[in-house]
Symmetry: C2
């Protein structure tokens, strides 16, 4: 198995039998581990065929109920702390949200998380280069790992475009007029088992072509430093240093390499890589 | 449902219960309708759990056996004429072939068909344009429909790159030195029920950026004419004229539109479109 394929396998490793689906009314919105399912049944969820269900209700009421249940999970040691940032709860990533839930428990409730990853690219006479971020050593998650130039979750109530501009400014000091030239290039999606629950991610991908003299700046402390690397060096790291980049950044880079022909049809895993970056149903 | 999504639904419409898998030894390679499965059982295939199996054997022997069985299917009115061009029979699109089979019965045997579609692009001061082909009126399949600039099946025994150069020359008069600049951009895959069987396609996609003064030429009679259209006009046709392009060309264009940001995250079906152009397992 090539080093590239390894990353796809890592991001999609899970056993569907380890989870039960849950719904708001008849609308399926999440998947929870059995330990959490048992707790939910003590908190107002009912058995619903093979899954669990919370009664349908107005947006605010369901959101409030989910916040209360999250607190009960926390008390039982089954959920992480609240972050004070809210993710939509929805049946399908293109659908209207039925409620919101704190970002800190998105994985515990197994809802679809949206976000984005942006590859910052510089084309020079001597080749194509990619801006790579080094995550801050004191960051709670994946400290010190390499990262895409900019990446972020997509909270409820903000457009994809506004979220892109906001994160570009906060994480890398990219002015809005430059960030606005980023080209949306599609979506990556995967389902991954983690200790807290099921991580179901769908992230928008962007290519941002930057002038050779543009230098990003770590603004909000999430990033320690930025480095401009030749694409060939980024490829070498992704292929042969499995722990160098934060796990899902590898997918964003593999997608870039495929779209731009750096990974070509003569690669022995070409079809599996190209077909494997997305799930029909995340 | 948007006009774009309609094309994805069309290309993926099938009911798995209408087919049985078949194997060479223990290696699953195809899916056949029940009527064909019944006939195969009269031609040396045996029941194998939920599917059918042909005994494993040397490449040449299995290929010869499949040619014989194809002839029996033809006699029974269950298969199309032979084309004299051979497709690999394989367990997985990245795997080595176990046999070859005539292109004319690829759908009847439900094997994975490989091929490619190439979008010819011209960037001018007044916008981005796409070369669109009109299929010959006397072509056996989809006569008179619009098509991508170049597209073709990928026969056994030729590399993806050589096949690209060959078809570019034959279908559009594109010199090898220009065709060689085409950028591979990934894969599209789908499963589609058709009267003959199950069409399982995986095709490489390419972008070929052409000089504004380059004009393609219909060489081998497959194409009636070429026209250079603004991308906005191509979008309008794909979205609002569902029968204008040959069915799967729509997917190649939607993929282009997504990769280049012409379809952006504010599209109401963005995730479904971007996730829906590929199957994990075709």
């Amino acid at each position: 198995m090539s080093g590239y394929l390894h990353h796809l396998r890592i991001c999609n490793a899970h056993n569907p039998e380890d989870y039960r689906s849950w719904s708001i009314g008849a609308s399926e919105v999440g998947m929870v581990p059995h330990a959490i399912a048992d707790k939910l049944l003590q908190c107002g969820f009912s058995e619903n065929g093979s899954g669990l269900a919370l009664p349908a209700g107005p947006f605010e009421d369901v959101s409030k109920k989910l916040a209360e249940v999250s607190e009960r999970l926390r008390e039982a040691g089954l959920a992480a702390r609240a972050r004070g940032e809210f993710y939509p709860v929805l049946t399908h990533p293109d659908a209207e949200p039925l409620a919101v839930i704190d970002r800190g428990v998105a994985t515990e409730f197994g809802i679809v998380n949206k976000g984005f990853h942006l590859n910052g690219i510089v084309r020079r006479m001597d080749g194509t280069f990619m801006w790579v971020a080094r995550r801050a050593r004191d960051k709670a998650t994946y400290p010190g790992k390499l990262d895409n130039m900019v990446a972020g979750g997509h909270p409820a109530g903000i457009s994809a475009f506004d979220n892109l501009l906001k994160e570009c400014a906060e994480e890398a000091g990219i002015p809005a007029e430059i960030a606005a030239t980023a080209r949306p290039t599609g979506v990556i999606s995967y389902r991954m088992a983690v200790p807290a629950g099921l991580r179901r991610h769908m992230f928008y991908t962007y290519d941002l072509e930057l002038d050779p003299d543009f230098v990003p700046e770590a603004v909000d402390g999430e990033v320690e430093s930025f480095e401009l690397l030749p694409v060939g060096e980024v490829m070498r790291i992704v292929e042969s240093e499995p722990g160098a980049f934060k796990y899902n950044c590898n997918l964003a880079i593999i997608d870039f390499l495929l779209r731009h022909g750096f990974i070509a049809p003569d690669h022995p895993d070409y079809f599996e890589l190209a077909n494997g970056l997305r799930l029909r149903n995340v």
